[in-house]
């Protein structure tokens, strides 16, 4: 069974997110509770006239799956509902089929940390 992860609607007014940190690579067997990616949501475009909130989120798996394809690298931007990753329930299922359903995930706000792509920024 192919599972897909698209960028979810995390906060109102967001139009996309930037990958800050990847915790897995294609081929990895991920357990329930595995970290997948940290994201930065920057609302500068929505609130350019005022101080733009920048917040960070982590996507964590709520089911076990094999990561087959990741479409983001640290520093890359993806639009809302854009493709983030493809996963499967067994390690070698062909990816040329329509995903059966979205991957079950948890998203939670996190603090900025040194491992992030922008961690060295001021």
């Amino acid at each position: 069974m192919i599972l897909e992860l698209r960028l979810p609607d995390i906060v109102p007014q967001m139009t996309g997110a930037t990958a800050e940190c990847l915790f897995a690579e294609a081929g990895d067997a991920l357990r329930l509770g595995s970290k997948l990616v940290d994201l930065r949501v920057d609302l500068s475009s929505a609130f350019a006239q005022e101080c733009p909130p920048i917040s960070y989120y982590r996507i964590v798996l709520r089911e076990k799956a094999y990561l087959r394809q990741i479409n983001l690298q640290p520093g890359e931007y993806v639009g809302l509902d854009g493709p983030v990753a493809l996963l499967s329930s067994s390690p070698d299922e062909p990816l040329d089929q329509t995903p059966e359903r979205p991957l079950r995930i948890t998203v939670a706000g996190i603090l900025r940390h040194d491992g992030m792509f922008s961690g060295g920024d001021l």
């Binding site: 357990r31 509770g33 595995s34 917040s55 960070y56 939670a108 706000g109």
Partner: protein
């Protein structure tokens, strides 16, 4: 039904004359007005009379002076023709302030009104421009200011001063929708002065405030000299944004709003108010890591959107001349305690602080395996809860009033009223404003502040 004439009422200072512009209305003829709701405003100038012409001018560095007026009773507003002069005559101060000038009237629903019902409540606004180039006359406190303030008091009263040294969550509440303290003025029955100092470009987290309150003139001179030494050789490489950022930064580093004293004029004449009686802070501004100058040791905290206002030379300087210092929750607590103790000792000011929203209806974490322990170092909502609890720990041993943003947002609904955790709806700001005013009502009147 009765008609009550609205008169300006007394405003003055012995030895000074006050001139005013034509009125600019905030409410229109025929509109219903609430009691204490601002209905119009004037620009004013305060100048020494001839006898004092060699004296020190009051409000010397505050070029923006305005007076907002509000009726003491509710009813339908009828405006007097001729008090709105229009054009530059509603910008420039062309008429003397006459307490008996009638600007309109209020039709009330009947019943007895007090003898002072027709005397307008006055709020005086003063703005210190960041630069005299920022002389914008468009509206209330328009332009770019390094400090704005508004005060109101009736005869025989001396206002308490609240200084807002927070960021958006605090400033939005005190400034209100038009950035001119109008909501505070309408809501407060107490004589108050509200002072706002913006975070341009340095955000007022506690290490910055501690630096400010303890920095000596020699230490500031060393900072200025270091800045000059660093940038002078490459002066040609600086772009206008660098110059503006540096000028503003040095100006802010030299100021100490926590110790400012104030001249005010009112029905009581000219008064001098001492340092703020209370300081409003934001927990949300505290960073987990702060920049510290590598050789001089002072701190720097520039919010990300203000970093973008600097040019490349300043951004490079911030990256190389400073080092990031991590702050644990214990370090942040100690910083707060030091600030509270220092203020108590030096000015007597009480600290009021807005805590942080610590929950999100959009999160549904059912398993914490994906979040590294300790969770307070990883999850923002857990961190916010721990930081909020830290404030209560401080309040156990020190005077600290906590504005409970967390509880108010949870009660009202964070998604609707505090969607990003910082910027509140107007309805929520009204509730927070009431909490702040409640804390101010609990403070003792300023015994030391005497009419001049």
């Amino acid at each position: 039904m009765s008609t009550v004439p609205l008169r300006l009422g007394p405003l003055g200072a012995k030895g000074y004359s006050i001139q005013r512009s034509g009125i600019r209305w905030l409410r229109e003829d025929g509109q219903h007005c609430r009691a204490n709701q601002p209905i119009g405003w004037f620009n004013i100038v305060v100048e020494p009379t001839r006898a004092l012409s060699s004296g020190v001018p009051v409000f010397g560095d505050e070029c923006e002076l305005q007076v907002v007026v509000a009726p003491r009773i509710s009813g339908r507003l009828s405006v007097e023709s001729g008090v709105s002069r229009g054009g530059y005559l509603s910008v420039r101060s062309v008429d003397p302030w006459d307490p008996d000038t009638q600007i309109g009237s209020i039709e009330t629903g009947g019943g007895d009104v007090g003898p002072d019902a027709g005397t307008l409540r006055l709020m005086v606004l003063a703005g210190r421009r960041m630069t005299d180039l920022a002389n914008v006359h468009g509206s209330l406190l328009s332009g770019w200011h390094s400090r704005t303030r508004g005060w109101w008091c009736d005869a025989g009263e001396a206002p308490l001063t609240l200084l807002s040294q927070g960021v958006c969550d605090a400033n939005g509440v005190v400034l209100g929708a038009q950035s001119a303290f109008l909501e505070m003025f309408e809501a407060a029955r107490q004589a108050l002065q509200i002072v706002y100092v913006p975070d341009h470009p340095i955000a007022p987290c506690v290490p910055i405030l501690l630096d400010q309150i303890s920095r000596t003139t020699a230490q500031f001179d060393a900072i200025a000299e270091d800045v000059h030494r660093h940038f002078a050789p490459g002066g040609n490489a600086l772009v206008p944004q660098d110059w503006m950022f540096l000028g503003t930064m040095l100006s802010e580093l030299q100021s100490v709003p926590l110790k400012d004293t104030y001249d005010i004029i009112s029905a009581n004449g000219l008064q001098q108010l001492r340092a703020p009686n209370a300081v409003l802070l934001s927990l949300a501004v505290e960073p987990q890591a702060i920049l510290r100058h590598k050789s001089l040791g002072y701190h720097m905290h520039v919010m990300r959107h203000h970093q973008a206002a600097a040019g490349p030379a300043v951004r490079a300087w911030l990256s190389t001349a400073f080092e990031p210092v991590k702050r644990t929750i214990d370090m942040i607590r100690k910083d707060y305690e030091a600030l509270i103790d220092r203020l108590k000792q030096q000015t007597g000011a009480r600290v009021i602080i807005l805590n942080r929203m610590s929950s999100s209806g959009r999160e549904d974490v059912s398993n914490y395996m994906g979040f590294d322990a300790p969770l307070g170092d990883t999850l923002s909502n857990v961190a916010a809860k721990e930081w909020n609890l830290m404030l209560h720990d401080i309040a156990e041993t020190r005077p600290l009033d906590i504005v409970d943003v967390d509880a108010v947002a949870a009660e009202m609904g964070g998604a609707e009223h505090l969607p990003d955790g910082i910027h509140q709806s107007g309805q929520m700001q009204s509730l927070l404003l009431q909490q702040i005013l409640g804390f101010m009502e609990g403070l003792s009147p300023p015994r030391h502040q005497q009419a001049a």
